[in-house]
């Protein structure tokens, strides 16, 4: 678990007093805090200096929070974690989670709930590229097209997780770091299909105690898939951040 003093938080809001008030509260809790007045400034700052968590307003005149979220997640779906705080914006919770937001709060927000959400983010964001331990053994057919070799294979997904999947295979095996496009067809009513782009992180090509195959980390998922995957593997932690009102 990362300590607050090791956690960099970027607060983005066009309302200066709210930015300052929130930064003040986080600093006294020992977080390293940076601020920006809009999505454009925030993006410029992130190019120079990465952070662990972004807490952003949605409607801002100089770059809105949704565009910022899209840019952040296109670059890296895992880091930084993005929490949205909305005054009265035209974004549903479903849309926000589909885009990769970790949590969404209305304004005025429950301060203790938001602080708890940040603490939870430090538990999950330790900088490791490993997917979280939450995963589900499955047996779904998957079609994979590898980007370097253009090879197309039909395999079976052996494990589906929040951050990626294990492909059960007897070969041919891809190279580590090779990117691929995949489409999983499931027989579950709760998870119709999962489509996206991934990168091979490891390969096991000799039989031993564990089956042969390779691990693919998600780089991006098609619209709607992220929510489906998260719900399917019973990843409900973000729901504790959703205010009841």
């Amino acid at each position: 678990m990362r300590k607050p003093e090791e956690t960099r938080v970027l607060v983005v809001d066009d309302e200066e007093m709210l930015r300052e008030a929130f930064a003040f509260d986080l600093k006294r809790r020992k977080y390293q805090v940076f601020t920006a007045g809009g999505g454009e400034d925030a993006w410029a700052m992130l190019q120079k200096s990465p952070v662990d968590i972004v807490v952003s307003d949605v409607r801002m005149p100089k770059g809105d929070g949704v565009s910022l979220l899209r840019k952040i997640k296109d670059l890296n779906p895992y880091r930084p974690i993005v929490i949205l705080v909305t005054g009265y914006a035209d974004i549903s919770l479903e849309q926000a989670y589909d885009l990769g937001a970790e949590a969404v709060f209305p304004k005025p927000f429950d301060r203790l709930q938001l602080l708890a959400a940040l603490e939870r983010c430090t538990e999950s964001n330790d900088g490791s590229k490993k997917s979280r331990p939450t995963r589900l053994p499955v047996k779904f057919p998957v079609r994979i097209q590898f980007c370097n070799s253009n090879l197309v294979v039909e395999e079976t997904v052996g494990n589906l997780g929040r951050g990626g999947l294990f492909i059960s295979s007897r070969g041919p095996f891809p190279e580590v770091e090779e990117e691929c496009n995949f489409k999983i067809l499931t027989d579950s009513v709760d998870l119709a299909f999962v489509e996206g782009r991934g990168v091979v992180r490891w390969v096991r090509n000799s039989e031993g105690a564990l089956p042969t195959g390779y691990g693919v980390e998600f780089l991006s998922l098609a619209d709607g898939c992220r929510t489906q995957v998260l719900n399917y593997i019973n990843f409900l932690q973000t729901k504790s951040y959703i205010p009841l009102r």
């Binding site: 005054g87 009265y88 304004k107 005025p108």
Partner: protein, 70 residues
């Protein structure tokens, strides 16, 4: 964004800032209390007033959304 939506949106940010400052001030004041001492009741009253204002905004938001949906 129509006028009423904009008004509700613009009101929510300073209100959120006010709430943040008040809650942190109340926290700090309570930390210095000796055993048996009660905190300054004005903090609690201010926070209750903020809660009331927040509820009014939320109720108005719900009405506006309902009107727009109709």
């Amino acid at each position: 964004m129509n006028d009423e939506r904009k008004f509700l949106h613009d009101l929510s940010s300073p209100l959120a800032a006010l709430q943040l400052y008040l809650e942190t001030m109340a926290e700090d004041a309570n930390q210095n209390l000796k055993e048996g001492e009660e905190g300054d009741p004005r903090y609690q009253k201010c926070l209750l007033l903020l809660e009331k204002m927040t509820r009014l905004i939320e109720e108005r938001r719900a009405v506006v959304k309902k009107t727009e949906a109709a």
